[in-house]
């Protein structure tokens, strides 16, 4: 990825989108193009954080609305998609927090009863990895997806989400430990 200048046209080499690699901050046409290119990727990231694909699409829409408002403030210090993911992950975290509060009364009501809120398809014999990621804390699942699906390095993830590289490494290590226990060893 290359960045030239702060306010000039930023040349960003997105590995999967050769040719669509320049975005001008503040340009609505460029934001339109960025939206069409990045929306599916952002939805896939958020699907691992929130409870369903529909919720992920809602969060992605809200994230792009927020990104549009602050489009002029992106100056290429981080890759544009990483910048988008930061906004999207924060949106998803807020969504999960609201969902948790909203589900609290029903949770108390069925205390002790078996969980039935998960999609039955996620509880097949080959348990879905995405379903497992949804059970993780949102910051850990976001770090896993950014690292092992989008291919960002720990340094890029740290710059994208605004934390230290060490924090990113710790989150990934904790998430891998939990996933290993659940997937390989079959522990809940």
């Amino acid at each position: 990825m290359g960045g030239v200048g702060a306010l000039a046209t930023i040349s960003i080499q997105e590995p999967e989108h050769a040719g669509l690699n320049s975005y001008t901050p503040g340009s609505l046409a460029d934001f339109d193009r960025l939206y069409r290119v990045s929306f599916p990727r952002v939805v896939r990231t958020l699907s691992s954080i929130v409870g369903s694909q529909a919720a992920a699409e809602d969060c992605a829409q809200e994230a792009f609305t927020r990104a549009l408002r602050s489009w002029t403030r992106w100056h290429g210090e981080v890759p544009v998609e990483a910048w988008l993911h930061r906004i999207a992950v924060n949106t998803a975290i807020s969504y999960r927090r609201r969902e948790k509060i909203r589900a609290l009364p029903s949770l108390l009501f069925r205390l002790g009863a078996p969980r039935t809120d998960l999609d039955p398809a996620d509880w097949a014999d080959s348990r879905s990895l995405v379903a497992e990621l949804r059970r993780l804390p949102p910051k850990q699942s976001a770090a896993i997806v950014l690292r092992y699906y989008h291919g960002y390095t720990n340094r890029e993830i740290a710059a994208a989400v605004g934390v230290s590289e060490r924090t990113v490494g710790q989150r990934i290590a904790d998430a891998l430990a939990i996933l290993r226990k659940r997937i390989e060893l079959g522990e809940p």
Binding site: D32, Q53, E57, T65, L68, L129, V130, L133, Y148, Y149
Partner: protein, 170 residues
């Protein structure tokens, strides 16, 4: 990357790439954003401009002039609205017209009894020669700036310490 991590990466790519995602149009959101701009920024500006224009129209209607300098003159407002300004403690200028005194001020009329003419030179304000009637209690602008002398020798004028008229020595 260890074996588990490789397996994780492969499986995650398989599951996420299998998702069918439709990209909805962004234009309705942008129109909402534009509406936010219109109602959040432009409308307060429009209200401010409209309020300023209304004040300007009212000021020019009350003062009869479109010159903003005239709007700041309190006299311009009183001349056109007929509302007398509050009485000033300082003497008015000799060339200024006295404000019209409302007729419903019996206390003011009692200060100057009927038939008593103020001493001192200068032109009288009232043109009638035999006016034994109503007389304005306020001093004429053409006389001395001191208030009119008291008609009786003993009570001094209430507004200032002016000496009584020499012709009133009873």
């Amino acid at each position: 990357m260890g074996r588990f991590e490789e397996h994780l990466s492969h499986r995650l790519g398989y599951e996420l790439d299998a998702m069918v995602i439709r990209v909805p149009p962004i234009r309705p959101d942008r129109q909402r954003h534009r509406s936010l701009f219109v109602y959040g920024v432009l409308s307060p500006l429009a209200i401010t401009v409209a309020a300023t224009a209304a004040v300007m129209v009212l000021a020019s209607a009350f003062t009869g002039s479109t010159n903003p300098v005239v709007w700041t003159d309190p006299g311009a407002w009183s001349r056109n609205t007929g509302i007398a300004p509050s009485p000033s403690p300082t003497p008015s200028s000799p060339n200024a017209k006295p404000p019209p005194t409302p007729a419903s001020h019996p206390a003011a009329q009692q200060r100057v009894p009927l038939g008593i003419r103020p001493s001192g030179g200068g032109e009288r304000e009232s043109p009638e020669p035999g006016d034994g009637g109503y007389r304005s209690p306020t001093p004429s602008p053409l006389t001395s700036p001191s208030p009119p002398p008291s008609p009786s020798p003993s009570p001094p004028p209430p507004s200032s310490g002016a000496s009584p008229s020499p012709g009133r020595d009873h």
